[in-house]
């Protein structure tokens, strides 16, 4: 069976989804179910301290015994904050070690700060975390993150939340060719075809949030993304035909066609 293998675990779904920006937890759960995702990302935030004692909990809607919860460091602008956030996450999730590291460089673009990301990854790997790391599409940085010991490298396709799709397939291809760990496109997917293109390039998976949550019908888009990731994966494994500009070969036999009627223009 074709599975996505991360840190010794095999997953049949290659689509990972975020849980942000949904109307409520009911919609979150419905979209996650429709996506078929087995790994779902969550953020770590300060709780209300008594102001709203009956606030519902995300982990009741998405129980950790049914889904692999992937805590992220969204909103962290320093490696130190990211490390603290993930130590809290590990405690919150009973010693769970699979995490998503992202260290942002700029609130306008949410572009990753790769210098901080590299140093935080080093510390986290030493502390026994299994780090899936969000990064730019720089092949050299991607390789360095792998060499540090990250269990998956997750370059952006375009900016977080932009829905701009895959802007530099060539860089992604270089990253994929050089990597010995799974490469997942994280960020920038806007619609199903973007996800399929990422998979056709040979990505091992796709992580997305806004493309589903900000669709008019998130649950339907989640289902579309599931199919797109599966279709893209199958197309990649099947191996596409070569592109042949100006050397058309007909699909139908070129002989045995009926004769033209003499003297009549077509």
């Amino acid at each position: 069976m074709d599975t996505l293998n991360i840190a010794g675990q095999a997953y049949s779904s290659r689509l990972l989804v975020g849980t942000g920006k949904y109307k409520d937890f009911e919609q979150t759960r419905a979209a996650v179910e429709a996506s078929g995702a087995q790994i779902v990302t969550v953020a770590i935030r300060r709780t209300n301290i008594g102001q709203n004692p009956n606030e519902p909990s995300l982990l009741e809607a998405l129980p950790p015994n049914r889904f692999t919860i992937l805590p992220n460091t969204a909103g962290c602008y320093t490696g130190q904050d990211a490390i603290r956030t993930l130590r809290l996450a590990r405690e919150l999730l009973d010693g769970h070690s699979l995490v998503k590291l992202e260290v942002l460089g700029d609130p306008a673009t949410l572009y990753p700060n790769v210098v901080e990301t590299l140093s935080a990854a080093q510390t986290l790997v030493k502390e026994g975390f299994h780090v899936m790391v969000y990064t730019s599409d720089d092949p050299i940085i991607a390789k360095q993150l792998e060499e540090i010991g990250c269990v998956a490298v997750m370059p952006l396709a375009s900016l977080i939340g932009s829905g701009m799709g895959i802007l530099n397939p060539w860089n992604l291809q270089i990253i994929i060719e050089n990597a010995k760990v799974p490469v997942l496109v994280d960020a920038g997917v806007g619609t199903a075809s973007d996800a399929a293109i990422a998979m056709e390039l040979g990505c091992d998976g796709v992580l997305m949030n806004t493309a589903i949550a900000a669709a008019k019908d998130p649950v339907l888009m989640a289902s579309a993304m599931r199919k797109a990731v599966e279709a893209g994966r199958e197309a990649y494994l099947a191996g596409r035909m070569p592109k042949k500009l100006y050397s058309a070969t007909a699909s139908s036999p070129t002989t045995g066609t009926i004769a033209p009627i003499q003297g009549k223009a077509a």
């Binding site: 937890f25 935030r45 300060r46 709780t47 809290l88 996450a89 997305m208």
Partner: protein
Amino acid sequence: MIALTINGEPRRFERVLTVSELLDQLALTGKRVAIERNGEIVPRGRFALEHIAEGDKLEIVVAVGGG
């Protein structure tokens, strides 16, 4: 009276409390939370044992929706 900072907010309590007692006062008992005290994780198994002290800075976090 002891003064603490919890999630960036100043809070005062009548007396020294254990972390468990503090969570109770904050209506967080039984909720899945993680706590950092002055930059160090307080393991869940130590909530009933560890006492908070004057001037402590606590971060109490949960999982929320995110991408």
